[in-house]
Symmetry: C2
Subunit: 160 residues, 2 copies
């Protein structure tokens, strides 16, 4: 029951001030990310984690207009990642457990020209410990696989 109480007490979009952790790779945590709209969802069964992908207004407008080849400067994509847990009342449902990390891709084709035009940032755990990994170069190495979609893996989920 302790865990359930914790989940309720630290709901997404909680009341109160936004946490302001130190920057990651020189990037500040976007202040309004909890209010962004959802772009996609994924579940990784290699590391047992659930993800929601959200976008800022620039990113969502670009998505609606199909203006993502390339994504425009100013677009920010956020990925909110939780470790798997099982819903206590519905066992076939894998639901968010503890927070793993939150991470962001920030498009600035000039500033981040060395990493595909994207800045990469990550904050780990509920304490939001910032990652500093050589300006996100290791992130970019994996994202090169998605070069044909401007280094973005996420494909907007289909809706009518």
């Amino acid at each position: 029951m302790r865990k359930l109480a914790f989940l309720f007490a630290t709901a997404i979009l909680p009341l109160g001030a936004q946490a302001t952790p130190p920057p990651s790779n020189g990037i500040k945590l976007p202040a309004t990310y909890k209010h962004w709209q959802v772009l996609g969802v994924s579940h990784r069964d290699d590391n047992q984690s659930l993800r929601v992908i959200v976008g800022n207004t620039t990113a969502m407008t670009a998505t609606r207009k199909g203006n993502t080849h390339p994504w425009p400067d100013g677009a920010i994509l956020g990925k909110l990642v939780w470790k798997d847990s099982r819903h206590p009342l519905w066992q076939p449902a894998i639901v968010p457990g503890t927070l793993s990390h939150i991470e962001f891709m920030v498009k600035d084709s000039k500033k981040y020209a060395d990493t595909g035009g994207w800045g990469f940032a990550r904050w780990v755990g509920m304490e939001l410990k910032p990652l500093d990994n050589d300006g996100g170069k290791p992130c970019f190495e994996c994202h090169k696989a998605a070069a044909k979609t401007d280094f973005v893996f996420t494909r907007p989920a289909p809706l009518p």
Copy 2:
């Protein structure tokens, strides 16, 4: 490649008019649901489907304030459900495939007193075929398992 083209062409929050299907169980499709904020996420491994749970302003305000025991009248929760697929560039990632259905719980403690104070609605597939199932009584039968959380299974995902 046809499938990928399809996914891009029917992005979440696409440009153009909102689809307006017939009502389900007498409930109209909420006009703005694609703009709602995210409350949670789940993956069901019994029926291989990925889900994003979103809420209208009343629901999200109630979540932030912890005012969900019970949820206030006017709160609407939406669940967007896709069949599983594998990301072609990142095989361990299960991502949205074709749309299964979208469904909503509408809180009106008087109007829906017979089903826990919630109206239940569902539209199936990209054609948004409305479900009519005896006013949502079969939905409510399963939701009785979550009576302690006002018949809502979703627990807001934790964030700092």
